[in-house]
Symmetry: C2
Subunit: 406 residues, 2 copies
């Protein structure tokens, strides 16, 4: 492997152009990811790779922040999309594909007796909270300290731009993995609390990801039941990468609702909320809709995606791959005198260099990216089924050179 | 034209199946539209038509509640989608297509100096409010009494299922076309008010639609300016059917931001917020994002849609068509001893039978639908460029028979 690094001239030129017509040039989470030496725009993508505007190829360890679980441009998914799109997209009555997808989710996901659809993970989390309030007649929400459930005002910190205090007036916070603190909160506010919302494990930014401690979820669900508080799993990020029946199944607990998004349609815009029969009537009463929610082809793409994931037994394949990738990277680090910590579920690994400054860690990531492995310094990564053994070799080679250039 | 009516047996069977896995069977605005004798699911669509599961053809006067502005499955739009999709959908870095679409909107829309993107109209309206709060440092919103800006909790009535009082604590309401009431509200709360949000004309459900009175918008924008309140036009529904530069241009006023959705990509899920340079920095500070927001092909479809709309001078064609349709339907009604009132912009006509009960009006609509014209009793309709002279003849024939069967 030659020790050459990428140039990103065309990306930079396009970013300059972008800044004229888009606030910040690139907005949202993509903006935070911009690095001087990194790619800003893609020209094409296929399987585990994308190419930037300068035609540099990247082994993509971000997978579009999750959606690409089968790999980019998966033939079965794209074919299912096309067959559905030829019939119609957003039409004045619903598509039967919506029913077929709901049936598929009900069949596949352990706790699911029904499904509703939106476009983005945040649609599902906001809807879940509304249903919890309707069902319980209570107002307050408990969430994990820096748990992320979308950008809706109730979810953002009070001091964030555009957010006002009343937006999260009824949002309480608790530390991850701290069932005692949760119990205290429930003792104090239980009669006001509609739901506890959390990802199945803690995957914050800029911090090691953290799995549930033994017995945590069992205790949480028992406490929630005791205080008549609904349990909502935000599986938008981890969904389909831990267990196809719902990530909760891997941790042996049963929530009342699960939010899905990201990987559900392998990159086609779709989100879903599923829940138990107890909540079906409340879910029917809540008014939640959007013109674009009924676009049929992403739902057809979702059915194809879920079928492919089942066929491949995707979560175990992805987790095995992640384990191998983690140990290979840890070994490379160790060989070069560094200590790389992998955390979270191996199919969504978060990396951190232990015992060096965060700047050194960032520099290492930058050097990997410049050598064709797309990674982020502050965010968990994502594995797809398209990632190959050869890709691990390539990643390893780039990582090694990156260490050598610190 | 034979006086035969459609059977919807297969739609009904599918609805039964749907109720097992989706709360209510069909959710959101599609659920309200369900009529015993009407279609529930589509099997295909093309141009101005969709076919239901029983293979009945409908001349579609709802256009998917707006998206289908060029007609279903428009070849140029679908081709642009495909070219973009072949390159990649939601990828780990942004698509240059996003920049191209922002440039297109900035070039086309009068007040637009920048654009941001979401999936659904409600993303754009919520973002607009957040930006207004960030820019002004003020909290309160003024909206029109029953103006609809999506299902976000701040937008829903306090007594709606799943909604809590604090959700709309800072939302004030004013009557449409009542600039004096607005002035009083501004006098009282001006120092707390961040924005005034309204559609360019009043298009509520279950009520005649109403254009702005002479001088209304001029007065509104002057008042807002005086009290340092931003003006947000929710053009999600009317956008591109009145004036491609923004519906405000037709009414000779300039808002600070405009929300687009529905028709922007002819049925592909996309929404956009555009605004003036003054707000660009505030827009950059507000954190607003979503994994599925960056799906590139709907943006490519939007560029193609906007180009086609410009080529066709779409708004004037649609308005002319609507005028003709309205007068033909009014004539048929009159011939049969009824008084049909058309209101709103002719490219989005709202119909009401005057001097009869609402039940009779509903029955007339049902009879039209049973004869192959898809209409709603309580909602404005939508015209697309695919609607032809022959379609008017067909609609007229069905409407005539519908009157004869009241």
């Amino acid at each position: 492997m030659k020790n050459t690094t990428y140039k990103v001239k065309k990306s930079d030129e396009y970013l300059t152009k972008a800044k004229e017509v888009i606030p910040g040039g690139i907005f949202g989470h993509y903006k935070y990811a911009i690095r001087e030496s990194g790619p800003k725009f893609f020209s094409k993508s296929e399987g585990a790779y994308f190419w930037d505007l300068d035609d540099n190829r990247y082994v993509d360890l971000m997978c579009g922040y999750g959606p690409s679980i089968l790999g980019y441009n998966h033939p079965e998914v794209e074919e299912a999309y096309k067959v559905s799109a030829d019939k119609g997209n957003t039409v004045s009555v619903a598509s039967p594909v919506m029913v077929d997808l709901a049936s598929k989710l009900v069949e596949m996901v352990d706790i699911a007796d029904w499904a509703l659809f939106g476009k983005n993970g945040g649609d599902a989390t906001s809807l879940a909270v509304m249903i919890a309030r309707e069902f319980t007649g209570k107002k307050k929400i408990i969430k994990i300290d820096d748990g992320y459930h979308g950008v809706a005002p109730w979810m953002q910190e009070k001091n964030r731009p555009g957010i006002i205090t009343s937006d999260s007036e009824h949002v309480l916070k608790v530390k991850w993995n701290d069932s005692e603190a949760l119990e205290q909160l429930l003792q104090k506010h239980g009669s006001d609390i509609a739901c506890f919302i959390s990802s199945p494990y803690d995957h914050p930014v800029s911090r090691d990801n953290s799995l549930a401690e033994e017995g945590y979820w069992k205790k949480v669900t028992a406490l929630c039941k005791k205080y008549e508080v609904l349990t909502i799993v935000d599986d938008v990020r981890a969904g389909f990468r831990i267990n196809l029946k719902g990530s909760n199944v891997a941790f042996a607990f049963s929530p009342d609702m699960i939010c899905f998004g990201k990987a559900i349609a392998n990159g086609h815009p779709l989100a879903s909320l599923v829940g138990t029969n107890d909540l079906k009537k409340a879910a029917e009463r809540v008014y939640f809709t959007g013109t674009q929610f009924f676009s049929a082809p992403p739902m057809a793409a979702a059915i194809a995606t879920l079928n492919e994931l089942e066929k491949a037994d995707a979560p175990s394949v992805l987790i095995q791959y992640g384990k191998k990738l983690n140990s290979r990277l840890e070994k490379v680090a160790s060989d070069k005198g560094f200590n790389l910590i992998s955390s979270g579920i191996p199919s969504m690994p978060y990396y951190r260099l232990e015992g060096v400054t965060f700047e050194t860690h960032i520099k290492w990531i930058d050097e990997c990216v410049k050598r064709g492995v797309y990674m982020l310094a502050y965010h968990n990564h994502f594995i797809s089924l398209a990632h190959s053994e050869e890709d691990i070799d390539f990643i390893e080679g780039a990582a090694k050179q990156a260490f050598e250039n610190l």
